[in-house]
């Protein structure tokens, strides 16, 4: 690996971590779209910043751009408060307007300047190592690395300091208010961090990858954990993973780096969506099937429990009585046999002791509907697992 390659991966990884932090809270606040809005509407801020300073590398550009991100959020909320349109409509109204103001400003006044719309949208990660931070003759590494490094350090600092405030105001705004943690302050704080991160990152990776890095890793992590800290950690890991794998994919395919990273982020989400335990698609389908089987089994056991007559318990009568197809009946009988809940003697099915106890406990649970009761029998019997 050349040092440029290492630097590119390092920058992309830091961007991924810096995005994952505000991204996690945006996803939990169901505000994923706002990151899209911010990423597009910082453009007029950048251009205005350039007009004022006449210097493309001035930190004022970042400040102005972040400010226009926050202005976007305020505008969206203001329009939404009129109750004339829904939030997504308000977002859809604001950010294209902001973006096009930026485009017009560039076209009218800054044609000679290197502010290229393509670069704004897709970024140019591959060029980041060439723009160095120099102090005198000393090379301190790529400038992007410094920018994103500083942003990431402050974001982590803020996260550690205000983790509890972020959590409570995201989870329960009412409680946050009554306890004296102003949700408005935390909200605009988060929006400012999201704006600054977007500005700092998009020079390197472009507006689209910024949005992808904020939302996709957090959404993926959300499927895997019930712990906010773990969700943050996983989102960071997924972001860094996609950044590095995406980089090498682009390298071998000779494709756009941002494009490859975004693709990996999408694929990763798809994979987790399918296989995540609990919330994943396969797990849900499996659980539904399992529940169907278990309900059938219980119906069958109840039938046996209610009928002592031989003819009711004859294996051939089960199809008629419980009205199942042969396959299902056989499946259920096999399942009951395997769990030692029934015995078959000359085609007559009888409940075993274990089967009887199970059936009674299950009936008790169904009648009382007491969730604590299920706790006790869950361990013993597989019916109420999960």
């Amino acid at each position: 690996m050349s040092s440029a390659q290492i630097e590119i991966q390092l920058i992309a990884s830091l961007v991924a971590i810096a995005c994952a932090i505000p991204g996690t809270f945006l996803v939990l606040r169901k505000m994923a779209l706002i990151s899209d809005a911010i990423s597009h509407s910082i453009l007029p801020g950048l251009v205005l910043g350039f007009f004022i300073t006449q210097d493309l590398s001035s930190p004022w550009l970042i400040v102005m751009a972040a400010l226009s991100g926050v202005v976007t959020v305020i505008l969206v909320e203001y329009i939404q408060k009129t109750n004339l349109v829904k939030e997504d409509t308000a977002i859809g109204l604001v950010f294209p307007t902001m973006f096009s103001i930026g485009v017009i400003l560039i076209a009218k006044n800054a044609n000679d300047v290197h502010l290229d719309i393509d670069v704004v949208l897709l970024g140019e990660l591959a060029f980041t190592p060439f723009d160095r931070m120099m102090v005198g003759d000393v090379d301190l590494g790529p400038k992007s690395l410094w920018v994103i490094g500083i942003i990431l350090s402050s974001t982590i600092g803020l996260l550690i300091a205000f983790f509890k405030e972020l959590k409570i105001s995201t989870f329960d705004k009412g409680l946050a208010t009554t306890l004296g943690f102003s949700p408005a302050i935390i909200h605009y704080g988060l929006m400012s961090v999201a704006s600054v991160t977007t500005v700092g990152a998009f020079d390197a990776v472009g507006a689209i990858l910024v949005v992808a890095l904020m939302i996709a890793p957090a959404a993926t992590a959300y499927l895997l954990t019930t712990d906010l800290k773990k969700m943050l950690g996983l989102a960071m890991i997924f972001g860094v993973f996609s950044a590095i794998v995406g980089y090498w994919l682009a390298h071998y395919l000779d494709a756009s780096i941002s494009g490859s990273m975004t693709t990996i982020l999408g694929l990763l989400f798809l994979l987790v969506y399918l296989i995540a335990p609990g919330k994943g698609l396969i797990a849900v389908l499996y659980r539904n099937k399992q529940q169907r089987i278990e309900v059938s089994l219980l119906t069958f056991l109840l039938h046996l429990n209610n009928h002592s007559e031989i003819e009711e318990r004859h294996i051939n009568h089960l199809n008629e009585h419980i009205n199942w197809r042969k396959v299902r009946a056989k499946f259920v009988v096999d399942l009951a046999l395997k769990n030692n809940m029934v015995t078959i003697d000359e085609d007559i099915i009888s409940l075993t002791e274990k089967g009887r106890i199970f059936t009674e406990k299950a009936i008790n649970y169904i009648i009382s509907n007491d969730p604590t009761e299920i706790e006790a029998i869950k361990e013993d019997f597989f019916l109420f697992r999960g």
Binding site: F163, T170, D172, L175, T177, T178, G180, T226, N369, T372
Partner: protein, 248 residues
């Protein structure tokens, strides 16, 4: 009607609250004495939740004032705990029962400081009290409605407040949980706390509460259950001619 020596826990004066400039509560005066277990009753949309939110500063009133033990709410936060109506949080949030209860301690911690061993212990004790210790590590959407309500009650208990506001704590809970909750509320009253509950089941008002406020956009009446819980006030509040089905 009121014992003049009794301290006022909550005093509401001329409170008017609006959403988008449309008032939903008009000119409410309310004096809640310390140590009562009070029901707020009224039909759907009467403004019961709105009243609590305005008292707690979650909503800004367009007129009027609220005092908690004689001072504005801002200065008395630590004296007040609130159990919101069930729909108000995101149940899929990545958090567990014990984590939610621990949030009740955030108020006494203030900004930046993080909950430590003491707060965790208080949370576990509160969970124990509401009979939910066994479920402490469950993600909250994996709890039944009654269990969720108990967790939120535990969160209020851990705040160790003087005044408790609860918005329909019996909504969607089974009979066992309802009794468990009301017993805890009565215990709070015994300790001299003031408990204010939005309540829907008129049948149980005389059995559970000693104080009641009738509300429907305006305040209809407020006072001891034995004095004012009658057909007249019920009819004024609910609009229909209310024939007592409620025995006292």
């Amino acid at each position: 009607m009121k014992n003049p020596n009794q301290k006022l826990a909550v005093a509401v004066d001329d409170l008017t609250v609006a959403y988008n400039y449309k008032p939903v509560l008009w000119d409410i005066d309310l004096a809640i004495p310390e140590g009562v277990l009070m029901a707020i009753v009224g039909p759907n949309g009467a403004g019961k939740s709105t009243l609590i939110k305005a008292i707690l500063g979650i909503l800004d009133p367009i007129a009027g004032s609220v005092q908690i033990y004689g001072k504005p709410y801002d200065k008395q936060r630590k004296l007040v705990a609130y159990v919101p109506q069930k729909g108000s949080v995101d149940w899929d949030f990545p958090t567990t029962a014990v984590d939610v209860v621990t949030m009740g301690t955030y108020g006494s911690l203030g900004w930046i400081k993080r909950p430590g061993r003491k707060e965790k212990k208080a949370a576990l004790e509160a969970l124990e009290k509401v009979g939910m210790l066994a479920f402490k590590d469950r993600q909250i959407s994996q709890l039944s409605g009654g269990q969720q309500q108990r967790v939120f009650l535990a969160r209020a208990l851990v705040q160790d407040a003087s005044i408790y506001f609860m918005d329909e704590p019996f909504q969607g809970v089974d009979a066992t949980t309802e009794i468990a909750i009301i017993n805890i509320l009565k215990e709070l009253r015994k300790k001299g706390k003031t408990v204010i509950v939005v309540h829907h089941d008129l049948q149980t008002v005389p059995e559970y509460f000693d104080w009641v406020t009738f509300l429907n956009v305006k305040k209809i009446a407020t006072g001891p259950v034995k004095d004012i819980f009658n057909d007249d006030n019920l009819t004024k509040t609910y609009g229909i001619n209310y024939k007592v089905s409620v025995q006292k």
